[in-house]
Amino acid sequence: MPTHHDSNALAPEQYRSYLRALARLQVAARPWLSPKLDASDLVQQTMLKAHAAREQFHGNSSEEYLGWLRQILTRTLANALRSLGQAKRDAGAERSLEADLDASCSRLDAWLAVDQTSPSESVEKHERAEILANAVASLPADQQQALLAKHCHGLSLNEIATNMHKSPAAVAGLLRRGLERLRELLAGDHRP
């Protein structure tokens, strides 16, 4: 009884918006890449790879399936970075990317769990993630950078301040205004 071949439960299409959210956050976290990399393209490549390699997935649950898709996305992203000459040619690049993605993923899930009043509706939840990612991507660059330094890399306020050559208070200001804007954006448009 190969439940993992149930096309309904494990169709990659269901995770498209969620993966797009992850990809968009990763691309946004590397602002120098934004003009060169398109999150939708990355996800499309991921989907195609997942489809081509669907026989290699041996898990059962949708969590495992999403994890598998995330691995493919990580590799796709690492390849893209490498081809742009932005990543060192060592295995560490992929590992750090994977860590970033893992962190991003778990924080996104935590947010969704608190924010969403209907967590069982996975499709809706995923769309919600994409809305958030889009909102983040539309923030002014410095607010975005400060937010993503926390979200993706889990840096402390002081570390971000050092990286951005700003005072901790200035960074806190970016975060504060960024969150405020985010709330406005999300309240203003609930639509996908």
Binding site: L157, A169, L182
Partner: protein
């Protein structure tokens, strides 16, 4: 007014405290900085909402404590009359849909609120009321049911069933692999749409997003927000074009004043297309391109995009997408019926299939009938083949039997003939041995010789069994005829030393069997072919010269063969002719011959082995050139007459010989054909009964 940087400094301190693992209490912070309380409240609220996204510890988010500027609070906002709102599910054309729980119960429903703000508020309110009216009247298993209609704080709302499987657009991928499930689903959706049409409601906004699947995969048509009332003629007057562009029919896009149910049929076709191919029939970079594609382009046939799509389903889909509304299905129900037909392997209206294809479909629908019919046909065919092969075997056997019978009869005729010729010979021998004849020959008393010939062979003694001689004559040792009776006068004194009756008889002079049956020769007297029986004799004693006495038999004599003819079998006598080669024959006696008729050569070569004749048993009668009755195939048996060169043929018409057998075979075929026709009629009858 507080220092704009001050709030950021406090925020930084707060965040650093959180990062150090402390548990700062927001109220305390607001208490410490009363001037910044308002900004801080907002900040804490945002941190509460997005803290988890930033990876901050969850316990920071204690939004219930932030109660300074939003007295109604989250809970109050969630309260909506008797319902508790549990989150927005989505936005329809005319309002927001929430998940809502009826207070004090576990009943969770979808609650739709009209949008009552903005410039078009009153128009929206009117539309919303219409929607409620339209949707609440529809009770169909595949239409989202409306539970309750109400108003709260001046805002109209209604509740409907919360259907949990998500809308169809999220599930398209899984239908692409399975055209049957697409067809089955669309048949249900089309029926639901038809049900609404029957109640004069035109949906106008059918799309995968408005078809909700429940947990078991059953579709439910929802969002009647754009629905319009149909008039008596089944048309609806509409204002501006409305709907979702990719699913809008050409006439709706053109903004025609009135539209009909055909626009819903079109939209159903677009949805079916999406399910079959995972792509939309009309696409473009922007709205203008999509609009142009809908108005002018023929969609790529679904089959070209997904080879799994059968031709009939492809045709059904494209029929819905006919630019001319009159060329589409006349109703959603007609579409549902055609989809059902396809699901049942029947011929669909959208495409006429060929007779072979229809036979295949029919067989798939009626496997029992089809296999029964197929079996009967096979059985009938096998029967016919067996009958034909048996018939051939039997014909061969029958033919052999007939030929053997004929040969046997021919041998019998040959021995009868030999017996008869022996009798003739005896008479001729007796005449030759008559001392008076011998004396008359020695004395050259020719009238005396003729007198004896007449008496012994042709005269008064001729009775019933007497030989049918026409002339008798005596040849002297040089071969000259010295006497003849009846006296024709033309041959006496002429020399016939080269005739077979002379040479053959003289060759037997020293043998005990002296009788010689001559070859056929052309008589100088009457120019007819004749046969002679001749005997050598020596009137001057055993050492004297050898004379010959002969008697001729005419060809029209039956030689006793006449009694052997019946309706089927004919006996024929072949004899060698003097003027022909040794193995060539003429037909000497034949039932077709009339009196004094010239003989006909027998063209078939015959080989003799003792008294057996080796010849093909099937032949064409040479007499047929003169007597058409004898045309056609014959089966013949041959026998040689011993001690002579004569051959007897007994022949039987091929058709007569195998006729009884043919008749049997024809009757058998008639029976088989009759049984097959009866079987076909029976199957057709049962099929008709079932169909009706």
């Amino acid at each position: 007014m507080s220092d704009p940087d001050e709030i950021d400094r406090v925020a930084a301190e707060f965040l650093q405290a959180v990062e150090r693992g402390e548990h700062p209490v927001p109220e305390q912070w607001m208490g410490k900085h009363p001037a910044l309380a308002k900004e801080l409240a907002t900040f804490f609220e945002d941190v509460g909402q997005f803290g988890s996204f930033l990876g901050l510890p969850a316990h920071v988010a204690i939004d219930e404590t932030v109660d300074l500027h939003a007295p109604s609070g989250l809970e109050a906002a969630n309260r909506f009359g008797d319902y508790e709102l549990m989150g927005e599910i989505g936005r329809g054309s005319m309002g927001v849909v929430h998940r809502a729980k009826l207070k004090g119960t576990n009943l969770v429903v979808a609650l739709k609120q009209g949008i009552t703000s903005g410039s078009s508020a009153s128009a929206n309110a009117k539309r919303f009321r219409e929607e409620v009216e339209n949707a609440s009247g529809l009770k169909h298993p595949h239409i989202v049911p409306v539970f309750h209609v109400g108003e709260h704080d001046g805002k109209p709302y209604y509740t409907m069933a919360l259907i949990g499987g998500g809308s169809l657009d999220k599930h398209i991928a899984r239908f692409v692999a399975n055209p049957r499930s697409s067809a089955a689903l669309m048949a249900k959706v089309a029926r639901a749409v038809h049900y609404a049409h029957q109640r004069r409601i035109l949906h106008r906004d059918l799309k995968p997003g408005n078809v909700i699947l429940d947990e078991t995969g059953e579709p439910h048509v929802g969002d009647f927000g754009l629905a319009t009332r149909l008039d008596e003629e089944g048309e609806a007057s509409v204002g501006a074009p409305a709907g979702s562009l990719p699913w809008m029919a050409p006439e709706a896009i053109r903004g025609e004043a009135s539209v009909s149910t055909a626009i819903d049929v079109w939209a159903l076709g677009v949805i079916l297309y999406e399910l079959l191919t995972a792509s939309r029939p009309f696409e473009g970079k922007d709205r203008n391109e999509v609009r142009a594609a809908i108005l002018d382009n023929e969609p790529v046939p679904p089959q070209a995009l997904n080879p799994k799509v059968p031709r009939d389903l492809d045709a059904i889909c494209r029929r819905c997408l006919a630019k001319d509304p009159d060329k589409r299905y006349e109703s959603a129900s007609a579409l549902a019926l055609d989809l059902d037909r396809w699901l049942k392997n029947e011929t669909v209206r959208a495409r006429r299939s060929g007779p072979f294809e229809r036979l295949i479909k029919w067989s798939r629908r009626n496997p029992a009938f089809a296999s029964g019919l197929g079996f009967s046909v096979l059985l009938a065919l096998a029967g016919v083949f067996a009958a034909i092969s048996m018939a051939n075997d039997q014909e061969t056997r029958l033919r052999k039997e007939v030929c053997e019978g004929n040969e046997f009869a021919a041998r019998h005729v040959a021995s009868t003939l030999l017996n008869r010729l022996g009798q003739y010979g005896e008479a001729v021998e007796a005449a030759a041995d008559d001392p008076r004849l011998q004396r008359a020959c020695v004395e050259s008393d020719w009238p005396g010789v003729e007198e004896i010939l007449k008496k012994r062979l042709l005269g008064d003694r001729v009775g019933k069994d007497a030989p049918p001689f026409v002339t008798a004559f005596v040849l002297d040792p040089t071969g000259t005829i010295r006497a003849e009776w009846p006296q024709e006068g033309k041959v006496v004194g002429k020399n016939f030393k080269d005739r077979d009756y002379f040479k053959g008889a003289r060759a037997r002079a020293k043998q005990t069997q002296r009788l010689h049956l001559s070859r056929v020769f052309l008589s100088k007297n009457d120019k007819l072919d004749k046969l002679a029986v001749s005997v050598p004799f020596q009137p001057a004693g055993p050492d004297g010269p050898t004379w010959v006495l002969g008697a001729t038999v005419p060809t029209d004599s039956s030689l006793g063969l006449g009694g052997l003819h019946d309706d089927h079998r004919k006996a024929v006598l072949l004899a060698p002719h003097e003027e022909l080669g040794s193995s060539e024959f003429v037909v000497l006696v034949h039932p077709a011959y009339t009196r004094r008729e010239p003989t006909i050569p027998f063209t078939k070569p015959l080989q003799r082995d003792g008294n057996r004749i080796l010849a093909d048993d099937e032949y064409l009668d040479p007499v047929a050139t003169r007597h058409p009755d004898y045309k056609g195939r014959w089966l013949a048996g041959f026998a040689a007459v011993p001690d002579t060169e004569l051959v007897v043929v007994v022949q039987q018409k091929y058709d007569d010989a195998v006729a009884p057998h043919r008749a049997f075979f024809r009757r058998f075929l008639e029976w088989v054909a009759g049984a097959a026709a009866l079987g076909a009629l029976l199957v057709a009858g049962m099929w008709w009964l079932r169909r009706n």
